[in-house]
């Protein structure tokens, strides 16, 4: 019995220490002796959990790492859990060597100080479009490079436009007239996402910006005018009022099933549209307020960044980022992911190979990063603007009142 008591104590002690240890495991990294010249393993973290994106990304990472005598440990978690997971890594100092960040989140992560300035790591940026470099910048420092970017364009159903004798709209006036003419029976002329959160907000941003508005001056006349035009389309019955509950995927479903003749959406919907039998679609840049205005759409994209570690790892990771952004790697990604290469030559090559990408490539050249004018305030702007759009569409307030409330929310 004595031995069994003692064994019991030993067991209990073991149980306690296992419990305690479990809390501290999963570490890694830390100060290591210089690895210069040796083969090392770099860790890469993204949210490409779907196939084939996960494997193709993994292959590109491995190819690029091989050039600097490294291998890649590639891990992905789904986007909804991604940011909390990255923050956890930041606080436990277990950052990967290569970290992908969705561009609206860059200011938040760059502000932590955990990311390295890529220009200090000698990454060559000459061949990038200026608008693309802007996406990776926070307070004038370049923290991330997006091999590929995307934006929003106008998709239209060619058959329906031809039947109604409507030209592809290029101005707001034409868009309104086309939406009215295309609204027939239980079919709406036009649709967009106005759901709570980023999807609903950034779909409206091209209208705000093309009209000269700013995310930080939501109660300015330009913004009120843009929101009035945008929401009147719903109030006049050319856009379903259900859009307040529709994500961009829902908007795509409506368009693909023929319940809407036009929509604002991104090029990532192209595979689904191509898979829809009997759908003859086209795309164009988003209509502008007056003929001759420049469309300014928000740029989205996934940025590859280099979190701080030791000099050797940072240098090799920076090379991998540069390599991911090389012309052929970008074109490869673009052709499989329906995104736009950030390299000019690769973008031109893409249009040659996939003509349906022309409108999106054109949009990208004049686009502006989604959080370009609001920076760290983007999250406040996002929530306030989303509520304002929904308030007007659902008849709670007029554009002026809703945007004044939104502006007060952002400033307060």
């Amino acid at each position: 019995m004595k031995t069994s008591t003692r064994r019991g104590i030993a067991f209990a002690v073991a149980a306690v220490s296992i419990t305690a240890l479990a809390g501290c495991s999963g570490g890694g990294g830390g100060a290591a002796p210089s690895t210069e010249g040796e083969s090392i393993e770099l860790t890469a973290f993204d949210y490409y959990t779907d196939e084939p994106s996960h494997s193709t990304m993994g292959d590109r990472l491995s190819d690029c790492a091989a050039e600097v005598n490294a291998t890649i440990d590639h891990q992905s978690v789904p986007y909804p859990q991604y940011n909390p997971k990255v923050l956890q890594m930041v606080s436990t100092k277990t950052m990967p060597d290569l970290l992908m960040i969705n561009n609206p989140d860059l200011p938040q992560f760059a502000a932590t100080g955990a990311l390295r300035d890529l220009e200090k790591l000698d990454v060559d940026t000459d061949q990038f479009l200026e608008s693309v470099l802007e996406v990776g910048k926070y307070e004038d420092k370049l923290y991330g490079l997006a091999p590929n970017v995307n934006s929003l364009v106008l998709f239209y159903n060619k058959t329906m436009l031809a039947e109604a004798g409507v030209e592809v709209p290029t101005t707001w006036e034409e868009l309104g007239a086309a939406a009215a003419a295309l609204t027939q029976g239980d079919r709406y002329g036009f649709t967009y996402s106005a759901s709570t959160g980023t999807e609903g907000t950034w779909t409206f941003i091209p209208f705000l910006w093309s009209n000269g508005g700013s995310q930080l001056e939501l109660d300015a006349p330009e913004a009120v005018e843009a929101l009035t035009f945008y929401t009147d389309l719903a109030l006049d019955g050319y856009v379903s009022k259900s859009v307040v509950n529709w994500s961009q995927a829902d908007a795509k479903d409506q368009f693909a099933s023929g319940k809407a003749a036009m929509m604002i959406n991104g090029p990532w919907q192209i595979p689904a549209l191509n898979d829809t039998e009997g759908l003859d679609w086209g795309s164009a840049t988003i209509p502008v307020p007056e003929a001759g205005d420049t469309p300014i759409a928000p740029l989205g994209g996934e940025l590859w960044t280099v979190p701080a570690s030791d000099a050797d790892r940072e240098a090799r990771s920076a090379s991998v980022v540069a390599c991911l952004n090389s012309e052929d790697k970008q074109l490869e990604t673009a052709l499989t992911n329906n995104t736009v290469p950030s390299n000019k030559a690769a973008a031109e090559e893409l249009v040659a190979q996939q003509p349906e990408m022309a409108s999106i490539v054109e949009t990208v050249t004049t686009a502006y990063p989604l959080t370009g004018d609001s920076g760290l305030q983007w999250n406040d702007v996002n929530m306030a603007l989303s509520a304002a759009i929904q308030a007007v569409i659902s008849g709670q307030a007029d554009a002026q009142t809703a945007l004044e409330a939104a502006q007060a929310e952002v400033q307060g």
């Binding site: 008591t5 019991g8 209990a12 002690v13 940011n83 239980d186 259900s242 996002n382 929530m383 929904q390």
Partner: protein, 325 residues
């Protein structure tokens, strides 16, 4: 072998049967008892460590966080400036706070009340065994078995204003479609309806269990005295069921007030904040807006409100049952 005897006498706390052996046994008995106490402690320790790590630390952290300006930079630098009550003041003075309070109150009260009465009705119905009652009872558990995100996604489709099946049925019988999730005036009611559907099985199962506990003899005796039907319910069932009712209402309240997934999956808090509650706003502040200080302050307000109301509920229902007096 010797030690075994010592343990045995030590454990029973007896002095031993012989005076000469008693002193020696007492000494080793104390040592053994100490060792046993140590063993007991070490066996409890994993549970204490578990509770400390997974409950105490997060709660304390959340309270501390609510007094700090806690942003994404804090994760890297570890610096979170102390701001005292400022986070609470900001959250309460926010123009949205009154709306959140109203939404949270209506959502919780309406969901819980209707769920309770329907659940009670079904429990009484199934208390009388009839053909297929077991099968029907299990079928009613379905909403509980389905993952919430899936049932919410299905409801979202059914409640779509244009193509949802509910509106198609309404139109087929000549009524107007209802903008279930797209009108700020209706959205909260729609979310409550779905929440009621989800909550009924929980209430029914627990109340049904409570009904099974009531001895049948009471009803027989009451029937002899002429008390059946409504009178039997009012004077026998209800008083004896009350302790279970208190548990159902308290747990139901806690589950409902903190409901997050169902609102996020149905409306995301919209349209225009019409379905935003304490729980969804706290989630959005923390995990969408990365504003952890304000998010923590709001979730602490939620915790305090639930603690106070749950405490009151338990206090009101303290009597074991009404028949006991």
């Amino acid at each position: 072998m010797d030690a075994d005897v010592a343990v045995a006498s030590g454990a029973t706390g007896a002095g031993g049967d012989s005076d000469t052996k008693a002193a020696a046994h007492a000494a080793s008995g104390r040592a053994v008892r100490r060792r046993q106490q140590l063993a007991t402690l070490l066996f409890i320790a994993p549970a204490i460590v578990f509770v400390a790590i997974f409950f105490a630390v997060p709660v304390v952290n959340n309270i501390i966080m609510s007094f700090q300006e806690f942003t994404t930079a804090t994760f890297y630098t570890g610096e979170a400036p102390w701001v005292g009550l400022q986070n609470y003041i900001d959250v309460v003075l926010d123009p949205l706070f009154a709306r959140l309070t109203w939404n949270t109150g209506i959502f919780t009260f309406a969901s819980l009340t209707v769920t309770f009465f329907i659940g009670l009705g079904l429990a009484l119905f199934f208390d009388k065994t009839f053909r297929l009652s077991g099968l029907l009872r299990s079928l009613l558990l379905l909403p509980w078995l389905l993952p919430l995100v899936i049932s919410a996604a299905v409801w979202r489709r059914m409640m779509d204003e244009g193509s949802g099946i509910i509106n198609q049925i309404l139109r087929a019988i000549g009524l107007n479609g209802v903008p279930w999730l797209t009108s700020p005036d209706v959205a909260l009611a729609s979310v409550v309806i779905v929440n009621i559907w989800i909550g009924i099985p929980f209430v029914m199962v627990i109340l049904y269990g409570g009904l099974q506990e009531i001895p049948r003899e009471f009803y027989e005796a009451a029937a002899l005295d002429g008390a059946t039907g409504w009178r039997a319910f009012w004077f026998i069932t209800w008083p004896l069921l009350r302790p279970v009712v208190v548990v159902v209402l308290t747990l139901g309240f806690i589950y409902t007030i903190r409901a997050l997934d169902i609102v996020l999956a149905l409306t995301g808090g919209g349209p225009a904040n019409a379905t935003q509650t304490y729980a969804t706003e706290a989630y959005q502040l923390s995990f969408i807006g990365f504003d952890f200080g304000h998010g923590a302050a709001l979730s602490n307000i939620l915790i305090i409100v639930s603690l106070v109301v749950a405490g009151l509920q338990l206090r009101v229902g303290r009597r074991p049952n009404d028949l006991a007096g």
